[in-house]
């Protein structure tokens, strides 16, 4: 039944948005991480969404197709006293743009809320359907 499939669709949307929020959290937390486990500066991570068919009818859910690393250039900061500094005294800092991340965070949380509303509406519709004939 289609209304039950809405749980899957909205659920997939919420999962995807939560993953996006997760990427934002990791980007913002690592805004100053000049070095990572591989010894290189942290690069901003972005999730790529993909529509995926769900259920027997025309329902389409969302899935995270990939988590890609931002290829934009790293920020070079002049700090000769830093042990990570190169010969010219510059340190390569992560390419995280806090403004982008904040916008992403707001967008993800609003989309998440939208999916929650859809789910609640479908739930109340199903409950009403159960009371047919009473």
């Amino acid at each position: 039944m289609s209304l039950f499939n809405i749980f899957n669709i909205s659920g997939s949307g919420m999962t995807a948005q939560a993953q996006r929020l997760n990427a934002v959290a990791s980007n913002l937390a690592n805004v100053d991480s000049a070095t990572g486990p591989d010894g290189k500066p942290y690069r901003a991570k972005q999730v790529v969404f993909e529509a995926t068919p769900m259920g027997a009818q025309a329902g389409v859910g969302v899935k995270v197709a990939a988590v890609v690393e931002d290829s934009s250039p790293l920020k070079m900061q002049y700090d000769p006293n830093n042990p990570m500094a190169n010969a010219q005294g510059y340190v390569a800092m992560p390419n995280v743009n806090p403004v982008d991340e904040m916008v992403n965070m707001i967008s993800a949380s609003r989309s998440y809320q939208n999916n929650v509303e859809v789910l609640n509406t479908s739930k109340s519709l199903l409950v009403k359907t159960l009371s047919i004939g009473q």
């Binding site: 669709i9 909205s10 969404f49 529509a51 068919p53 009818q57 329902g59 989309s111 939208n114 047919i132």
Partner: protein, 135 residues
Amino acid sequence: MSSRIDDALRFNQNALNLRAARQELLASNIANADTPNFKAKDIDFASALKGVMAESAPKLGLNTTAPAHMELPNDGKTVMGQPVLYRKPLQPSADGNTVDMDVERAQFADNALRYEASVKFISEDIKAMLAAIQG
């Protein structure tokens, strides 16, 4: 098998099924509001309901009873045998996504209300029939 009771309930039953299918489509649109190149979809409810009512028997699907059986693919082009249309974008975005959240949310709320109305209609139909039976 068709009985008078079936006939009496058929219209509202079909309307309710179509409303549920449309609710699913609108939920897909809202879930994919941030997916690049996703095109918002909807059905023309009036003509779809006419199409469903015109079909005397429901379309038969294929049952899968063994693991080697292939399921019919979900091509996303029809709902209850009725064509699914793309929504005309009012403010298309740069990533090719045509979901307009205002439109989708408004249609979703509208469809939910009309679904509830259909539920009420069926309930009232049943009450009327019970009244006729019990006197």
